[in-house]
Each structure stands twice: as structure tokens, then as C-alpha cells.
């Protein structure tokens, strides 16, 4: 199983909109809750109420700031979980076959019954998407909620990953990225979805939608006429008002305000 399938029937994955993510960590905790109770061993917490609390999470939200050449610095909240790479190095290094990429949908999973907890797959992953659970001793990673997305005990509309269902801002999208007609593929095409660390050749399935341009003032010219004073001297305001009121008649509102 450490061999990667030459191709998968579908490429299920996430599209994360960096223009919309507010960094609320809802996806982080929802993921923790679902995956603690479901797939495999619970995600444990060490020193939970002590000096060095640290536990296993399958999804974490970073925050960066970017200093453009001109204009103020920008803050970008940045969620990150397994990208379900096409060329997943985490799979090929695994000595036990516990790590595998599913043929039917491309989900990269760890079969905990086989895992020896050697940690090599986590070393092989560029994205920090794998965490060895300290209590269970097995490797944990995003399952793309494989136990939700096909789950017949859930209503159809809930067959999406826990993090996607919960994201209050709607910054997370789930779908088949191998299908060019899927909503996610269209989003990626429209918004220039990008890969993380493409230079490492992992070919991530998950895509990130870049933040839209910010703090741009290139429409000043278009807007300038909107602030032409109605009358130069301030006392002239009343005269203007009288005139302007003439154009405002009962019932009908002038769309252009008072101009």
C-alpha cells in the first residue's frame, strides 16, 4: 500500500479561501471534536491543564502578515491540514503500509492497526500535516472525514467534512478537484487557486484561493466627481438645498441622491 496508485478515480479535497478566512479556529476545534470521537484513536491532549498543554490536531490555523512594496502590512489567516497530495511522499516512506492513498477518491489515510509510530511519514510531509499521537503512539492526520462524506447515517447535506460544515465564514469548500466541472474546480479556476510549496513536487490536491488585492486606490479618478462640492461657499448650501429639494418629489426618490 505504500505504493501510490498511478491514478485515482476522483481527487477529493478542500479549497481554502484565504480572502475569506477570518482565523476563527472553528474548523480546528470541530475537526478535533469529530476525529476524537470517530476515526481511530482519540486525539489526545498531554498536560491538558498544566504548564505545557499540547495535543494532537489535524488542522491548525496559522496567521501571517505580508508587507507589500507599498501600502500597509496585511494579515492573512491560514488554515492548514493534509493536502492529500497526488505524489504523497508520506505514503512511499511508510515501512508498514499503514499510510496509503485511496484509489477511489485519493484520500490519504493512516491505517492505525498497522502503524508502528515511526514518524517517518511526518518527516516526509512538507506541510506539517501529520502528528504522532503521544498517547496512542500512532500517526494521525486529516482523514478528509472519510467517515462523514460517505456516511449513510448522516443526512445527505451533512456528508461533508466537519471543518467545512462548521466554517462560519464559508471559507472552506469540499469537492472533487479532478472533475473540472465541480464547484471547487470552478472556484480554483476563477480565483487562481494555488499549490503550497510546488517546488517539492508533491502535487497537492487541496488548493488555496489567494487573498484578493487590498488597499487599492486605483478607482480615485472614477470616484472624484462624487465629491464635487454643490456650491463653493458654505453659506450657499441653503440655496442649493432649495434647488435640490425641488427635484425630490413626494413618493419618488431620486436615485442619484440630491445631485
Amino acid at each position: 500500500m505504500t505504493q501510490l496508485p498511478t491514478s485515482t478515480e476522483r481527487s477529493l479535497g478542500l479549497v481554502i479561501d484565504l480572502d475569506t478566512c477570518v482565523g476563527c479556529h472553528a474548523c480546528v476545534i470541530s475537526c478535533k471534536g469529530w476525529n476524537t470521537e470517530n476515526y481511530g484513536a482519540p486525539l489526545s491532549d498531554i498536560d491538558a491543564y498544566g504548564a505545557n498543554p499540547h495535543g494532537t490536531f489535524l488542522n491548525r490555523v496559522h496567521a501571517y502578515e505580508v508587507q507589500p512594496e507599498t501600502g500597509p502590512a496585511q494579515t492573512v489567516h491560514f488554515p492548514k491540514s493534509c493536502l492529500h497530495c497526488e505524489d504523497a511522499p508520506c505514503v512511499t516512506v511508510c515501512p508498514t503500509g499503514a499510510s496509503y492513498k485511496r484509489v477511489e477518491d485519493g484520500i490519504v489515510l493512516v491505517n492505525e492497526d498497522d502503524c508502528i509510530g515511526c514518524g517517518l511519514c511526518a518527516w516526509a510531509c512538507p506541510y506539517g500535516a501529520r502528528e504522532l499521537d503521544q498517547l496512542a503512539g500512532v500517526m494521525k492526520k486529516c482523514t478528509l472525514c472519510v467517515d462523514r462524506i460517505y456516511n449513510e447515517n448522516l443526512p445527505e447535506e451533512d456528508r461533508v467534512p466537519s471543518c467545512v460544515r462548521t466554517c462560519p465564514a464559508g471559507a472552506r469548500h469540499f469537492g472533487d478537484l479532478a472533475d473540472p466541472d465541480s464547484d471547487v474546480s470552478k472556484l480554483v479556476a476563477e480565483r487562481g487557486g494555488m499549490d503550497l510549496m510546488p517546488e517539492l513536487g508533491t502535487k497537492p490536491v487541496n488548493k488555496y484561493l489567494p487573498p484578493r488585492p487590498r488597499d487599492r486606490d486605483d478607482n480615485i479618478d472614477i470616484l472624484a466627481p462624487f465629491l464635487d462640492p454643490v456650491i463653493e461657499e458654505p453659506t450657499g448650501f441653503l440655496g442649493w438645498l432649495d434647488k435640490a429639494l425641488g427635484t425630490v418629489s413626494g413618493g419618488k426618490t431620486d436615485k442619484k441622491g440630491a445631485s
Binding site: T2, C94, T96, A122, L200
Partner: protein
């Protein structure tokens, strides 16, 4: 990378052990009876001890047997196979030498080659990782092999060969360090490529995803002070290579001197291996604005 004592012990001791086994397998020296016993005892103690130490690094050792399944793709699986094969071949060979006073030299050659191959697979566990640019280079394997063979030479009393090999190792080590220092930059991964935000401007971390630590930080983000590293490098190369080479080059290289050289070498090797891990930067650190 976190310089965990278990991986340092594993890679140094098993390297030495398999190096020693290789020399023994190749009949350098040819030993029988008690002498052979002590040699093999030492070799097995080192090799098996090292392998055992490595299991401390496993979160779930009860599944260890499963590690033999993926030899087609996994270097760790290959190492598992080769180490066992090497130990088995050399074990049978050793029984001949110790108890039967016979040398099945073909077996010895096969065992010796398997031992060297084991060290090579160990090295490839690290060298294959694109995520750790410093390791992801032929020098990693070359050094693992050199240290192993030189160590074997030293322990088998091949003073001169050991000294020469150690000097070569020293030279390659220097090369590996200086080239390794640039390798992360050469790989081209930056916080900008990691986040994809480079098109907007210069990126830095504002807040980590959690205020405490986690497995990734503990395991893969280890920061060594530059000054500290420099001293340690000097220490490592002197103790692992130069000092033992000098000791071995002394005309009266007796058992005591060899023992001393071995101990000094081992200490130096620990330092070298500590640096091997501690200085190796994993690209995941980019996400934490740390390397």
C-alpha cells in the same frame, strides 16, 4: 530536527556495529573461538543495541513486524530487512568462527556486504527526504558509510586504514557541512512558497496556530545557536576523525590506544550525529517562521 537520543544512539551504534560486522565478514581479521566471541559480542551489542534503541523512537512498537512489508518503496522497510538478513548471515558465519572454528567465507562476504548495505539503507532513510534539504544529498550516505567502515576498521585494529578513512571522512564532512549550509536556500522553499503569499510581498509569521508546542515543533523544529554549532562542529570533527586518526597513527598503536581512539571516536560521532539532526532544518519550520 529534534536530536533525539534514541535516533543518535541507533544510527551511531548500529553504524559501528555493522561496520565491525562487515570487516569480520570480509575476514579482516580472521578470528576464532573466544577472540571471535568477543568481537562478535561487541559487534552484535552495537548493532542490535542500536536497533533496539531505534524502537524507543516508535510510538507503537507492537506492530514492528509490519515494517517488513513495504520493501518495494520504503527505505525503512528495506533497512529492516537488510539488518535482519545481515545479522542472520553474520550470525551463522559467527557460529562457524566461534564454535566450529570454520570460516564459511562466502557467507562472510554476503554478510559483510549486507552489513554495509544496511548502513546504506539507514542513510537513505534520511537522504531520501526532500523535506530536509541538508540530508537530501549523496554526502549523507557517503558519510554514514565512511563512518561505519572506518569505525569497523578502528575496532578491528586496522589502524592505518582507519586513520585514512577517518581523514577522508573529515574532508567529506567539512564539505557536507559547508554545502549543507546552503542547501536549504538552494531547494528554494521559503515562507513565501510555503504560504503561496509571496506574490503579495514579504511574509512573516504574525501568530502561530497555538501558543504552546506540538509534535511538529518538538520533532522537526530545532534551533541551534550558530556559535554553539561552530564549536560543536570543531569538537565533532576533532574527536570523531582527527584525534582518533592521530592516535592510530602513533607508532605503538596498542590495544589501549585503540580502545582510547574508539572511545574518542564514539564521543565525536555522537556529536557529529547530534549535529546531523539538530542542524537539519525541515521545511515545515517555514510555516512557523522558524528553521
Amino acid at each position: 530536527m529534534h536530536p533525539a537520543p534514541s535516533v543518535i544512539l541507533f544510527s551511531t551504534l548500529s553504524g559501528l556495529g555493522f561496520g565491525l560486522l562487515a570487516w569480520l565478514g570480509f575476514g579482516q581479521p580472521v578470528v576464532f573461538g573466544w577472540t571471535a566471541f568477543w568481537f562478535y559480542a561487541l559487534a552484535y551489542a552495537l548493532a542490535v543495541g542500536g536497533l533496539l534503541a531505534s524502537t524507543f523512537h516508535l510510538g507503537n512498537p507492537k506492530n514492528a513486524l509490519k515494517a517488513y512489508t513495504q520493501w518495494k518503496t520504503s527505505w525503512l522497510s528495506r533497512e529492516a530487512w537488510l539488518s535482519v538478513l545481515a545479522l542472520v548471515f553474520m550470525g551463522i558465519f559467527a557460529i562457524g568462527e566461534i564454535f566450529l572454528g570454520t570460516r564459511w567465507s562466502v557467507l562472510g562476504w554476503i554478510g559483510g556486504l549486507l552489513s554495509i548495505a544496511t548502513v546504506f539503507t539507514t542513510s537513505m532513510i534520511y537522504a531520501q527526504l526532500k523535506t530536509v534539504p541538508r540530508w537530501n544529498h549523496p554526502t549523507t550516505s557517503v558519510l554514514f558509510l565512511l563512518y561505519s567502515i572506518a569505525g569497523g576498521a578502528l575496532l578491528t585494529g586496522h589502524g592505518l586504514i582507519a586513520a585514512i578513512l577517518l581523514l577522508i571522512a573529515a574532508a567529506i564532512q567539512l564539505l557536507a557541512w559547508s554545502a549543507g549550509d546552503k542547501r536549504f536556500a538552494e531547494r528554494g522553499s521559503t515562507i513565501e512558497t510555503a504560504t503561496g503569499l509571496g506574490f503579495m510581498g514579504k511574509v512573516r509569521q504574525f501568530e502561530p496556530p497555538h501558543t504552546g508546542t506540538n509534535y511538529l515543533l518538538d520533532e522537526m523544529v530545532y534551533v541551534v545557536g550558530r556559535k554553539h554549532a561552530k564549536t560543536l562542529r570543531l569538537f565533532a570533527i576533532v574527536l570523531a576523525c582527527l584525534a582518533p586518526a592521530a592516535l592510530l597513527a602513533l607508532p605503538s598503536a596498542g590495544l589501549a590506544l585503540i580502545g582510547l581512539a574508539a572511545v574518542v571516536h564514539l564521543i565525536g560521532l555522537f556529536a557529529q550525529r547530534w549535529l546531523f539532526f539538530a542542524e537539519a532544518e525541515h521545511v515545515v519550520g517555514l510555516y512557523y517562521d522558524k528553521r
